[in-house]
Amino acid sequence: MPVPVPKTYKLFVGGKFPRSESGRSFQPNGNPAINVARSSRKDLRDAVVAARAGLAAWSGSSAYLRGQILYRLAEMLESRRDAMQQELVCGGATKAAAKKELDLAIALCTWYAGLCDKVQSLLGSQNAVQGPFFNFSTVEPTGVIGVLAPESPALVGTLALLLPLLAGGNSVIVLVSETAPFAGLALGEVCASSDVPAGAVNLLSGLRQELAGQFAAHRDLDGLLVAGRPDAVLTTAAADNCKRVRYCDLSAAEWRTAARLRSLAFVEPFVELKTLWHPVAQ
C-alpha cells in the first residue's frame, strides 16, 4: 500500500490554483490535519482583476455556449460524485446527506444551464412608445459580483448563489464556507474541466470576518450577494460605488429544496436593463 497523496486545498483564481499570496493557511473547524489557504485582501484584489478579464470572456460568449458550459458542470459533478461527496463528508456531512446534496447540486446546474439563453426573452422587452421609434430593452450582466457563501450546505450553498449570477452573464468571486471549504474549493476543479473561461469563476477560502468587509468595500466589484441576514455594515460599505446588494437568508429545509433554489428572481437583481431607441424612417 503506497503512501497516500493528500490534496493541497488552494484557491481558484483566473483559472489557476494559487496559494494565498500571504502564505497563510488555516485549519477549518480546528481540524489539525488539513491546511486551507487563508486569503488576504490582496488575494481578493487579484481575484477582482482576474474576474474583470473573465467577465469579458464569459459575457462575450453566446448564451447558448454559456448554457452548454453550465451543463458541463453538471456532467463533471456527476463524474466526480465520489470525490465531491468525500469533500462534503470531510466538511462534516453524513454520507447520505452528501449524496443528496450532490443530487441537488447537479439539478441546479442543469436548471440554470437551460436558463442562460432564456434570460433575454424573459427579462427584456419591446416597448410600444409614442412616435416613430423602435424601442426595446435588453439585459446585460451587472459585472463582477462578490459572493459570501453560507457555511452550509457547503456545495449547494455556493452553487445556488453562483449559478444565477453566471446565468445572467456575470463573473463571480466566491468566498466559500469557512468551516467546510473543501467542496466549494473543489468546484474549481469542476470549472477548470468545463470550459469555464479563466476568471469567470473565482473561489477564495479564508476567514469571513476578515474578508467580508473587503468584499463590500472593493470599488471594482459591481455587486454583492451575501448569505445571511441584511447587514448594515456591509451595505454601508457597498454604497461607496452603488453596488447592487442582496442577502440570502434561507432555512436548512429551504437549502434542501430545489424549487426554492431555482428562480429567475435570483438572476434579476444582478442584470442591468438597457433600453435602445432608434427612429423609424425612410
Partner: protein, 503 residues
C-alpha cells in the same frame, strides 16, 4: 446676413438662410390668467391640507424673475411621521381594492391632468424656469401618460408576474428632484399606486408647486385619503423620510452623492431601494452620420431643460475627421438658440433653476476656462433679473478635464474627439456614471455594435432625450439601480414569492 455668417457658412460648405437681427421674434407670452397661486401651501396628509407642526414656511420663487410665488410648509420629523402613518393607515384598504378600481382612479387622474394641462404647464414653468414649450409638450403630457400607462397595469399584475404572486410592498417613501417636478412625481406615484402601495412624496425644496397642485387632482379624482401624501421641505425633510422605520421601500431621484447616503441610511433594514442618480452621458457622432440631424440631437441633448437633465448628453465625442465641420455647425446652431422669458412660446432655453445651481454652473465653467479648454458662447442679451446662463460649449477638452468628468447639470457641452469605434467606446465608458448614451451613425450594424458596448441604461441612436412611459429608464454603475417606466419599472414596487432580500 452678417459677414461672420457668410464666412461660417462658406467654411461649412453649405447654404443657409439667415436674417441676422433684421427680423427678431415678436414676444409671444403664454397667458397666465387661468393660473392662480395661493399665497401659502400646507402639507397634504391623509387627504387634508394640514399645517406643519414646525410652524415654519419657506418661499418658492420664479427663477426667471426672482419674485416669490408662494410659501410652502416646512415638514419636520413629526410631520414626516404623521405622513408615513397616514400612508400606513390607507394601505390595507388600498391594497385590498380590486386592481380594476385602482386602475380607474389612475385613469381618472390622467384625464384630469390633461383637462388641466395648460394650468400645470404654466405653473411648472413659473416655479421651475423651464420654457413653456417644454412643460406644454413634454413634462405635462408625459406625466399624464405615466398615470394612464400604469393604470392599465393595476389589474394585470398577474399577467406581468405569472405564478409569482405579486404583492404590494407597503408604504413607499419617494424623494424627487427639481428638474422635472411634476413628471418625476408621476414617475414615482403611478407605478407605486398601480401595484397597491401607498406613498409619501417629498418634492424638491425649490419646485414644490406642481406636486402640491397634483394633490388637488387626487381630491378631484376621489382618490382615498392617505394613499398619496405630499410633504414639502428641504434636505432635512428628505433625510427624515428615508430614515423612517415605517417605509417598505425608498425611491430616489437626484445626485449620486445623496443616493449613496440614502443607500447607507437604509442599509440593513431590509428596505427595498431604487436610485436614479447622476450622469455624464457620451454623445457619439460618427463621420457618416446625418450631421445636420446630429447637430439638432446634440443641441436637444445638452440644452433641453437648460441642461438640468441627469441623462443630458454633456460629453460630445465627435469623430476626428468631421470635428471641425461639426463644431462649426454646432456653433452656428447655438447662435440661434433663443434664451429668455420661459413663458414665451418662442423660448428655447429658460432660466437656470436656482441661484445655487447658477453658482455651480458658473464655477464649473470657470474651471473649464482655467484648465485651458476653449470656451464658446453665442452673443445674446439676457434679462437683467433672474438666473441665466448662455448655451456653452468647450472644445480642446480631454478625458481628464473636470468638465469632462463631473456632472455640471447645466447648458455646458464638452467636446472631445475619437478616431476609431474602439476609442469611442473606451472614452464613452470611462466614467463612474452609466445613465445614457447617444450614437449618431448611418450604419446600422455599427450602431448596434456600439450600443451593445455602451455601459448605459438608455441608448439613443440617431435621436436623443426621448422619454415614454412604456420605455424603462434608469442607470448602470453609479447612476443607480432600478428602472422607471415600462414593464420592468413595475418590478420595483411589488414583492414576489421567493427571491432574495434587499440590502
Amino acid at each position: 446676413m452678417t459677414k461672420t455668417d457668410k464666412t461660417d457658412a462658406a467654411k461649412a460648405g453649405d447654404r443657409e438662410l439667415t436674417f441676422g437681427g433684421v427680423w427678431p421674434y415678436a414676444p409671444s407670452p403664454e397667458s397666465t390668467d387661468h393660473v392662480t397661486i395661493a399665497p401659502r401651501h400646507e402639507l397634504f396628509l391623509g387627504g387634508q391640507w394640514v399645517k406643519p407642526k414646525t410652524g415654519e414656511y419657506f418661499a418658492t420663487i420664479d427663477p426667471a424673475t426672482e419674485k416669490p410665488l408662494s410659501e410652502v410648509a416646512l415638514a419636520g420629523d413629526k410631520d414626516v411621521d404623521a405622513a408615513v402613518k397616514a400612508a400606513a393607515k390607507a394601505f390595507p384598504a388600498w391594497r385590498k381594492l380590486s386592481g380594476e378600481d385602482r386602475a380607474r382612479f389612475l385613469f381618472r387622474i390622467a384625464r384630469i391632468l390633461l383637462e388641466r394641462a395648460r394650468e400645470f404647464a404654466c405653473l411648472e414653468t413659473l416655479d421651475n424656469g423651464k420654457p413653456i414649450k417644454e412643460t406644454r409638450d413634454v413634462d405635462i403630457p408625459l406625466a399624464a401618460q405615466h398615470f394612464f400607462y400604469h393604470a392599465g397595469w393595476a389589474d394585470k399584475l398577474d399577467l406581468l408576474f405569472p405564478g409569482q404572486r405579486p404583492e404590494p410592498l407597503g408604504v413607499i417613501g419617494q424623494v424627487i428632484p427639481w428638474n422635472f417636478p411634476l413628471l418625476m412625481a408621476a414617475w414615482k406615484i403611478a407605478p407605486a399606486l398601480a401595484a397597491g402601495n401607498t406613498v409619501v412624496l417629498k418634492p424638491a425644496e425649490t419646485s414644490p408647486l406642481t406636486a402640491l397642485r397634483l394633490c388637488e387632482v387626487f381630491q378631484q379624482a376621489g382618490l382615498p385619503p392617505g394613499v398619496v401624501n405630499v410633504i414639502t421641505g428641504d434636505g432635512r425633510t428628505g433625510a427624515a423620510l428615508v430614515r423612517h422605520p415605517g417605509l417598505a421601500k425608498v425611491a430616489f431621484t437626484g445626485s449620486t452623492e445623496v443616493g449613496k447616503e440614502i443607500q447607507r441610511a437604509v442599509a440593513g433594514r431590509g428596505v427595498e431601494l431604487t436610485l436614479e442618480l447622476g450622469g455624464k452621458a457620451a454623445h457619439l457622432v460618427f463621420e457618416d452620420a446625418a450631421l445636420d440631424q446630429a447637430v439638432e440631437g446634440v443641441v436637444r441633448g445638452i440644452f433641453f431643460n437648460q441642461g438640468h437633465v441627469c441623462c443630458a448628453g454633456s460629453r460630445l465625442l465627435v469623430q476626428e475627421s468631421v470635428q471641425e465641420l461639426f463644431v462649426d455647425k454646432l456653433r452656428r446652431r447655438m447662435d440661434r438658440i433663443r434664451v429668455g422669458n420661459p413663458m414665451d412660446k418662442n423660448t428655447d432655453m429658460g432660466a437656470i433653476h436656482s441661484q445655487a445651481q447658477l453658482a455651480r454652473i458658473t464655477e464649473m465653467v470657470g474651471v473649464g476656462v482655467q484648465s485651458g479648454c476653449a470656451l464658446y458662447q453665442p452673443r445674446c442679451a439676457l434679462p437683467t433679473k433672474g438666473y441665466w446662463f448662455l448655451p456653452t460649449m468647450f472644445t480642446d477638452v480631454t478625458m481628464s478635464h473636470r468638465i469632462a468628468r463631473e456632472e455640471i447639470f447645466g447648458p455646458v457641452l464638452s467636446v472631445l474627439t475619437f478616431r476609431t469605434p474602439e476609442e469611442a467606446v473606451e472614452k464613452a465608458n470611462n466614467t463612474s456614471y452609466g445613465l445614457s448614451a447617444g450614437i449618431w451613425s448611418d450604419k446600422g450594424a455599427r450602431i448596434l455594435w456600439l450600443a451593445e458596448r455602451m455601459k448605459a441604461g438608455v441608448v439613443w441612436n440617431n435621436t436623443f432625450n426621448r422619454f415614454d412611459a412604456a420605455s424603462p429608464f434608469g442607470g448602470f454603475k453609479e447612476s443607480g439601480f432600478g428602472r422607471e417606466g415600462g414593464r420592468q419599472g413595475l418590478r420595483a414596487y411589488v414583492r414576489l414569492a421567493g427571491g432574495w432580500l434587499p440590502g
